[in-house]
Structures are given as C-alpha cells and as structure tokens.
C-alpha cells in the first residue's frame, strides 16, 4: 500500500506544480535572470573613479604621473585643487572618491633616488571599492616609479653604478583558474548554489505551510497515510526541480559565458542533490513549526539572507572578521558555494572535496532529522 500511496502523492504534486502558472517560468526564468543580471551587478571591476589631484610639485614628473594614472582608464581626473583641505571637500560632497596629493620636491626626490611618497585618500563608505581603488592606484604608481627609474638609468649609465637604486622585491601575482579575474565566471557557481537554496528553502517552506493554511493538511492528517510517505511525496518533486534548475543554470552559463565545468558533472550533481535534500528538510522544518505561510516565509528569508551574505557569494570569507569566519563554518551554503567553485572553475575531484561533502551531508541529515521530529500529524 505504501508505494501506491507515494506514487499517487507524487502524481498529485506534479500535477499541481505543472498547473501552477508561475512554476515553469520560475524554473527557467529564475536561473536565467540571476545568471544574466547578477554577475554584472556584483562585479568588482572599477572604472572611471572620480579623482581630485593636489599637485604641490608642479613638475614634469608630477604631470607625467597624472597622465599615467588617467590613461589607465580606471580613474578620471575631475578636479585640481590647490590644497588638500579643498580636495577633501569634493569627497565630502560626493563629487569624487579619491584624493591624490603629490608632495613638493617629488621630482627632486625621485631624481635623486630617494624614495618619494604620494599621499592617497580614499572615500571608504563603500569599503570594497575603497580597497580595490587603493590597490589599483598603488599598482599604477609603483609601475610608474619603476619605469621612471629605469629610464633614468638608461640615460646615464655611468651614474647608475654610483647611485643606489632603491632595491625592491616585486611580487607578481598570477591568477590561477580564473586568469583574468573574470567576475562573471566567478559568480556563476555561487549563483547556482543560491538557486538551489531558494528552491529548497523557500519553495518547500511555502508549500507545506500553504497546505496547512488551506486546511488540506488537516484532511491528510486525519487519514491513515504514513508521515514518511507524505513527506517523501512532498520532497521528491523539489529534489527533481533542484536538479533541473542546476542543469538549466549550467546550460545558461555555457551559452552566455562559455563556461563549462572543469570537474565532473556527476560530482557536481551529487553535491547539488545532497545540498538540496538538506534544504528541503530545512524548508520542511520551518513550515512544521510555523503557523502560517507568511511566518514560514519570513523566517526562511531571515536565514537565507544570512546564509547568502556569509556564504562567500559576494564577499570573500577571508576578508571577514575572525569571529564571523567561525560562524561561516556553520553555514551550509558556504560549503556548497566553495565546492561548486572548486568543481566548476578548478576541476577538483571528489577526493579533494571530502570536507565539503561531509559538511553538506551532515547539514542534510540534521535538517531532515529536525523536520521529521517537528512534523506531527497530531497536535499536542
């Protein structure tokens, strides 16, 4: 009897989902929009940052440096200000994001081989932008300094030996697995993880709390159907939906960005499935303990927001404060985003992903256990 009941429960769920006019568009449009819009919106690339220059040296070198910075394309020299104070007022008004102050004797210092300093002041309201601007500008200036010194050296070969060149060790970064720091590529695995979280967490939470609100849950509770049959009938459609969304998402990523997973597809789907099972359990748990759809929705939203923001989707976990990094260890979404990136971008195999696998598996067991003990057919 059990199997027959389950079969019809599934049949009924599929009929309802297919009849739901928003369900099919949701499965296709949701991944499409997220994959098209988010990678661009969440880009870290910096372009056309407004800059104010305070040139206290008025030398050929200082003008040269200015030009060099402007020609990088990242910065636009909007204003020149006579004093730092005045330059700062541009930042205060929001007209500029960076002040570059070139000190007096800049040319002399550099010409004599002494180290020359420039003063950089960045509007850090947007912390991420600030640190990236700082890094870019530093790079441009370093590059300029190195080149200038080399030119000087070539001009007067003899002097070079006598002159002490500022010795420097230069670290050259080489970006592996995503050589051009292409944010689209970087975002795609994370967005796939996010889609799975949404399907499991939100849709499952809404579905069962919806049945409670509608009153149909009471009809089911009064029937002899087994709890496990009923729950499986609810969850299996979401597992299938999650797999579909993952595959559709990968297809879209290939069409749009030419991105194909370097690692094995079965490994990827295995991670996606176990994670999805975990999150449908999470959604189920929420709907078991909530009285209404609205309540389930809000609680799910609260947790998902934390899972996303602390999952390394937009901001790297390594740049979070220490205490926050410990919380991240309790975030299932982080493990999945990590695993997805490793599989898709790096081509890691299952053996390298054991930590993530066990973590995701534990969450799946934990959430489903919670769901099983909180979902009751009889009220206390």
């Amino acid at each position: 009897m059990g199997r027959k009941v389950l079969k019809y429960l599934l049949e009924k769920e599929f009929k309802q989902n297919l009849r739901n006019p928003i369900m099919l568009p949701l499965i296709i449009v949701l991944p499409l929009i997220q994959l098209v819009v988010l990678p661009f919106a969440a880009t870290y690339e910096i372009r056309n940052v407004e800059m104010v220059i305070v040139d206290n040296d008025h030398s050929a070198f200082s003008r040269d440096l200015e030009q060099k910075i402007a020609s990088s394309g990242y910065f636009r020299t909007r204003y020149h200000a006579p004093t730092y104070q005045e330059a700062l007022s541009y930042i205060e008004k929001g007209d500029a994001a960076v002040v570059l102050e070139i000190p007096q004797h800049f040319e002399n210092d550099l010409g004599d081989g002494r180290s020359a300093q420039v003063f950089l002041s960045v509007d850090a309201v947007d912390g991420t932008q600030a640190s990236i601007v700082e890094a870019y500008l530093n790079g441009v200036i370093q590059d300029y300094a190195a080149r200038t010194l080399r030119e000087e050296a070539l001009q007067s070969q003899v002097e070079v030996r006598n002159r002490k060149l500022p010795s420097r060790i230069q670290a050259t970064a080489q970006m592996r697995f995503n050589p051009f720091l292409d944010y689209q590529t970087y975002m795609v695995p994370g967005i796939l993880a996010m889609l799975l979280t949404l399907v499991g967490g939100i849709l499952a939470a809404l579905n069962i709390s919806g049945e409670r609100e509608l009153g149909t849950l009471e009809q089911i509770n009064v029937s002899p159907v087994r709890k496990s049959d009923y729950l499986l009938g609810k969850l299996i459609p979401f597992w299938i939906m999650g797999l579909l969304i993952t595959l559709i998402g990968l297809g879209i990523a290939w069409l749009l960005y030419g991105l194909t997973p370097r690692g094995s597809l079965p490994t990827l789907l295995l991670f996606a499935t176990i994670y999805n099972i975990g999150f449908t359990g999470f959604g189920l748990f929420l709907s078991s303990v909530s009285k209404s759809q609205q309540q389930a929705m809000f609680v799910a939203f609260f947790f998902l927001l934390i899972f996303f923001l602390m999952g390394g989707l937009f901001t790297p976990v390594s740049s979070m404060p220490h205490w926050a990094q410990y919380i991240v260890y309790l975030n299932p979404t982080w493990y999945l985003i990590d695993a997805m990136r490793l599989i898709i971008l790096k081509g890691s195999g299952f053996a390298q992903l054991l930590d993530q696998f066990y973590a995701i598996l534990s969450f799946a067991v934990f959430f489903n256990f919670l769901a099983l003990i909180t979902f009751r057919k009889t009220a206390k």
Partner: protein, 319 residues
C-alpha cells in the same frame, strides 16, 4: 461492543497559559448511538471545532477520554483514522485539482479506490459527475460542500464528522445536503455534525448545545422543545424598533428576542398565554403601537437556544 459509536467522557482542552488561557473544551461528555445523526449546536467560538479535533484524533485532550467505534482516540489513533471521515469547517480540498482528482487522491490516501466505494458515494456524486473535470476551486459553494462530503466518504467510513458543513452555502443546497446526510444515516453510518443553524438542528436525531466549551443539554429536539419553560407570544407591530424595547419592559416579560419580523416574548410562568395576550395588546396600544399582531406559539429549537444563550452566555441576553 457498546451500542455507542462515539463516547466522550470529561473531555477538556485548554489553549494558552495564564491570563490568556482559553478553556476551549471544558469537561464535555456525551454519547452518539450507532447509526445516529447527532448535532452539535452552538455559537461561533463555543468549542465545536476543537471538540471535532479531539474526536478525530487530530488533537490530544488535556484530560478525559473519547472512544470512537471502540477505539481510544489517543491510543488507537491509527485504527480510528481508517474508519472515520472528517470534513473540516473550511473548504479544504485542493483547488487546483479537478473533482475527479480530489476524489482519487483521498481514496488513495485511505488505501481505497473510487470504483470500490462508488456505490456509497453515488447518491452525492451524481450531482458532481457532470463537473468531474472541473477544478475544485471553480465549483460553487454548494458543489464544494458536496465534493468535500464525497471525499470524506470515499473510503466508506463508519463514522462521519462534519464541522459546520453547511456554513456559507445557499438554502437550497443546505436542504439537499441534509437530505443526503439522511440517506447516509439510513445506510448505517453514524454522523456527528455541527451547525449554527437552528432549522438544521431539527433534522438531527439528537442534539447537544455547546456553549463556552461545555455541553449544556443533550436530547432529541422534540424533548428539548417540550421542556421549554415559558409560554411564548409572537408579536409584530408597525414600529419594530421600539417594539422590542417596550416588550422587554412589559410586566410579566422574562425576555424577548427578534425572530425575523416577529418578536418572541417569553413570559414568566403563571397565568395563561391567552390572558397575557390581552393584557399585552392593551399595554402596547397604550405605548402607541399600531397594527399589532399577537399569536401564542410553540417553542422552537431556536427559542430554546436563545434562552440558553441568555442564561449562561450573558452576551446574548441584552440583544
């Protein structure tokens, strides 16, 4: 095996704690005979729905016991769920499944098939059959009730629990619905139904008044009517509004309630109704009423209900 289909003994259920606690069901006892159509009559919030949840094993009572067809609702809930049909107060079938699919779904849940139980649901299903491909959400109110009843019957239950099955349904469908219940009861199914409509209460073999979580009276409608302690005068005049106020001030009046165009005046015992009618006419003419009509009448179930509400509820006494 006892002759009773359902037996409740001192059932109690409280919600909430401390000051906000509500005693939804308070020491309720009653018995429903096998094959009986039993009515639970009471205002909204009397505790009828909670009582149904306790009887259908959906909720565990704080104290007391309930036995359905020999099975304890707490210990033997598995057996109970196989033999009862429950129709909750709100329409609670899948709006996005068709009539046919809803039926099939509930038959499958109970391990049965529509074909197997076709005979027992046929008297009701024949109304629905022309619309079997229609989505349940698109049915009229009366049709929805019939579908819900079919779904509750599709596994051939021994006991049927119907929580306000006719609320929000037009009078014709309501009449039809009660006729169907009559047919089912003739087939030997025990039925417990609640209703806020007094005219439906007379269709039950026995009724119980539920009020503030308690069952205050439990008997056949006939016996309950017979026990009504007051003589009743139905009074009408042109000025309905002041009439009720004046009637309540009439010496010898116990209480007075509006029933449509008529006011029912319950008289204190002692003195014949005919004698009182003459006195009342003089009193009302004196108060300036015109087109006065006064008729003595038999107590209806509604009269019994109103009186009971005023006695114990307090809330209805000032209406």
């Amino acid at each position: 095996m006892s002759d009773y289909s359902v037996s409740a003994r001192d059932l109690s259920k409280k919600f909430g704690h401390g000051h906000h606690a509500v005693q939804a069901v308070d020491g309720v006892s009653f018995d429903v005979k096998k094959g009986e159509l039993f009515g639970l009559i009471g205002p909204d919030g009397a505790g009828k729905t909670t009582l149904f949840r306790l009887l259908t094993s959906l909720m565990i009572p704080d104290s007391g016991t309930a036995v359905v067809e020999g099975f304890d609702t707490v210990k033997d809930y598995r057996q109970i769920r196989r033999i009862i049909g429950y129709m909750p107060g709100r329409f609670s079938l899948y709006q996005d499944l068709s009539v046919e699919e809803n039926l099939k779904f509930f038959a499958t849940l109970f391990g049965s098939t529509v074909a197997k139980s076709y005979d027992s649901i046929k008297p009701i299903y024949r109304y629905l059959e022309p619309f079997k491909k229609r989505m349940a959400g698109k049915l009229s109110g009366g049709m929805k009730q019939k579908l819900a009843l079919c779904c509750a019957l599709v596994h051939a239950p021994k006991v049927l629990f119907l929580d306000e099955p006719t609320t929000g349904v037009d009078p014709v469908s309501r009449k039809e619905f009660w006729e169907m219940l009559g047919t089912l009861q003739e087939q030997g199914i025990s039925i417990v139904a609640s209703t806020p409509y007094m005219n439906e209460a007379v269709r039950c073999h026995r009724i119980a008044f539920v009020q503030n979580g308690k069952v205050s009276e439990c008997d056949t409608p006939e016996n309950i009517r017979r026990r009504f302690p007051h003589a009743i005068l139905a009074v009408k005049s042109r000025d309905t509004f002041t009439l009720l106020q004046d009637l309540r001030k009439f010496p010898g009046a116990h209480s007075c309630y509006s029933f449509g165009n008529y006011q029912h005046l319950y008289l204190h015992s002692g003195g014949g109704a005919g004698d009182a009618a003459d006195r009342l006419r003089a009193y009302l003419e004196d108060k300036g009423h015109h087109d006065i009509s006064i008729q003595p009448m038999e107590a209806s179930i509604e009269d019994c209900f109103m009186l009971r509400m005023s006695k114990e509820g307090g809330r209805y006494g000032d209406v």
